[in-house]
């Protein structure tokens, strides 16, 4: 819904009635993820998309019907459904789309929170008596919606009264990149693609410049360990230690291992890694904690250039955060 918030704000300001169609679930492959929205105004204007074109015409019809006074509805489009051929969803996947009116007063609080980087979620009842009921969920709220928001996840929650769809607008998770090296710029770029808020931190001011890092969210001149002591870290946080200089790496890793960060990776050839592990042991870090460090950083895909290393790092981050128990997949 992020992509259409500005349009929704404008429509809300004009007092235009709006229907939104929200992807609330997908099975197998689908072009857009849960939370994607197609918004239709009373004037017939359209913003966003739910499948990238496959079922938009059918969904548009449902939205117009809702705007004309029709009840909220949960529609399923998929190859298994006869309707799929009719509407032309060829993706082999199934999408569940909830269509209903959007109360204009919900738009401003969501847009405001997203702008200011505060977590907020929109909860929509999608089955049962009061399907279409909506409320906003703030951070720290107990219950399943609050838990989803804390993890930054969007999805369906089963409740005794029926299914509830929770669309989380969590601030982007943090990626901290230590070491203002060439690899850092490449890792930062791909980190932004994956939706991270990227900070590059190095104690050496002359390396930490906008010219070298044009597309990172924040540049920090500070010793990485000192920075990390005061930076927010949660299970979604990614920490990449790229300096391969023990005097920066060892203190940074020691602090990183005291946090709940979801991914910690460190660059360096095998000997560097062994020496670093030895120094961490000398600092009293346990074997279990040392095993949390992905080193050498990145999946082994034969990377040579910094940009290729960044791809290997990104692939490893996805793998670790998506399927923490799985062994590393090696390229064939």
């Amino acid at each position: 819904m992020r992509d259409v918030l500005e349009t929704l704000e404008r429509w809300a300001a004009d007092g235009t009635p709006v229907a939104i169609a929200t992807v609330v679930g997908t099975e197998r492959s689908a072009p857009r993820d849960p939370g994607a929205v197609l918004a239709v105004s009373a004037g017939g204007d359209v913003a966003g998309s739910v499948t990238g074109g496959c079922v938009e015409p059918a969904v548009y019809g449902e939205a117009r019907d809702v705007l004309a006074g029709g009840a909220p509805r949960l529609k399923t489009y998929g190859i298994a459904d006869d309707e799929a051929f009719e509407v032309g969803l060829p993706c082999g996947g199934t999408v569940h789309i909830f269509v209903d009116r959007l109360d204009p007063e919900l738009v401003a609080p969501i847009a405001g929170a997203v702008r200011e980087g505060r977590p907020i979620a929109l909860e929509i009842k999608i089955t049962g008596q009061d399907a279409g009921a909506k409320r906003l969920v703030g951070p720290g709220e107990d219950g399943p919606a609050g838990e989803l928001l804390a993890r930054g996840e969007t999805g369906i929650v089963e409740t005794p009264e029926g299914q509830v769809f929770v669309s989380s607008f969590a601030p982007r998770p943090n990626m901290y990149v230590f070491g203002a090296v060439d690899h850092a710029a490449a890792v930062a770029t791909i980190g932004r693609y994956l939706g991270y808020r990227v900070t590059v931190c190095d104690a050496r001011a002359k390396f930490v410049t906008r010219e070298r890092f044009p597309d990172v969210d924040e540049l920090v001149v500070e010793w990485p360990d000192r920075f990390l002591r005061s930076a927010p870290v949660d299970e979604r946080t990614v920490i990449c230690v790229l300096t391969h200089d023990h005097k920066f790496d060892v203190p940074a890793l020691k602090v990183a291992l005291e946090t709940p960060a979801g991914y910690i990776g460190a660059m360096g050839a095998r000997r560097t890694n062994e020496e670093r592990a030895e120094r961490l042991r000398a600092e009293g870090v346990s074997e279990e904690d040392i095993a949390r460090i992905h080193a050498p950083i990145g999946l082994k895909i034969g990377s040579r250039t910094p940009e290729e290393v960044a791809i290997a790092v990104a692939a490893q981050i996805v793998q670790v955060l998506r399927s923490p128990k799985k062994e590393e997949v090696l390229a064939q």
């Binding site: 060829p90 693609y193 034969g302 250039t305 791809i311 998506r322």
Partner: protein
């Protein structure tokens, strides 16, 4: 000027300008730079030249004495993609030692992405950051083809990709749909070996993923594929021994050659060719196979 030269004296700066032009056009070449000289030698440190895949030379790299050997090493470098330092010693009686850095500059691999989907768009953008060339139509000349149409004619596109010579062919699809697409290709009569060349679903298996994550998984697989390919980017050069001086020379359009008793003989220079043509019977025992 030596046999393979494109003609006209090309200075060191022109060589760099020409190198940039070739790189921009996506054409392969070798940049050869003299990095060390033990006198006497006709080359000086910093002399440089370009060597093209057909053996033509642009620039100064020591003239007739070291040039044929540089061309030979350059074409080997184009074939295996490895940068090397070639030491030219005793190639000519008058020469000392000339060390030449041989850098093959190969065009970035070409990725063709067919189809409109968020994963396809992100893949295209990311592949460019890794230095690949990216196109969204026509599989001709592609090193890798990724089909991401979300179902609009995947079978036809994959069949075309299989016939294109692309080394990597991937299909963006769920495991289930990938299975049905491959089954359809089999019923169309494609042999099993061809069907097995298709990576379906494309990309390393990183777990359930968003569109951006699927793009990362595919690009990671492409990087791995690029670096584990066994064959070199260009065919190995054909080489022959100059029957006059005994030097191994690369044979190309620019090579000095003559036909003797129905057999083509190659030389390092016009000088050697003239000597051969004056007394072919004296050198024909050394004739290259």
């Amino acid at each position: 000027m030596a046999a393979g030269n494109m003609g006209g004296r090309v200075n060191s700066t022109d060589v760099i300008v020409e190198a940039g032009r070739l790189a921009a056009e996506g054409k392969p070449y070798v940049l050869a730079t003299v990095v060390n000289v033990v006198r006497p030698a006709s080359a000086r440190r910093g002399d440089r030249a370009l060597v093209l895949p057909d053996g033509r030379v642009s620039g100064w790299i020591g003239g007739a004495c070291s040039e044929p050997a540089v061309v030979r090493e350059a074409l080997r470098a184009l074939a295996d993609g490895q940068t090397r330092v070639a030491q030219m010693e005793g190639e000519c009686a008058s020469e000392g030692i000339v060390e030449v850095l041989i850098e093959p500059i190969l065009p970035a691999p070409l990725l063709v992405i067919v189809g409109e989907s968020p994963a396809a768009r992100t893949l295209g953008e990311l592949a460019r950051t890794v230095g690949w060339r990216v196109r969204d139509d026509g599989v001709e000349g592609a090193d890798a083809v990724v089909v991401a149409t979300m179902g609009h004619g995947d079978e036809d596109l994959l069949a075309a990709a299989l016939g294109s010579g692309a080394g990597y062919i991937g299909l963006v699809a769920s495991a289930k749909r990938a299975g049905s697409v491959l089954a359809e290709l089999r019923t169309r009569g494609l042999d099993e070996e061809a069907v097995l060349r298709i990576r379906a679903p494309a990309g390393l298996d990183l777990g359930p993923s968003s569109q951006e994550e699927i793009a990362v998984a595919i690009l990671a697989e492409l990087v791995a594929w690029r670096h584990t390919r066994r064959e070199g980017p260009l065919a190995a050069p054909s080489e022959a021994v100059d029957p006059v001086c005994g030097m191994t020379v690369a044979v190309g359009p620019g090579t000095e050659q003559t036909v003797h008793e129905g057999v083509t003989v190659a030389f390092c220079s016009a000088h050697c060719r003239a000597r051969f043509e004056a007394e072919p019977e004296r050198y024909s025992g050394l004739r290259a196979p």
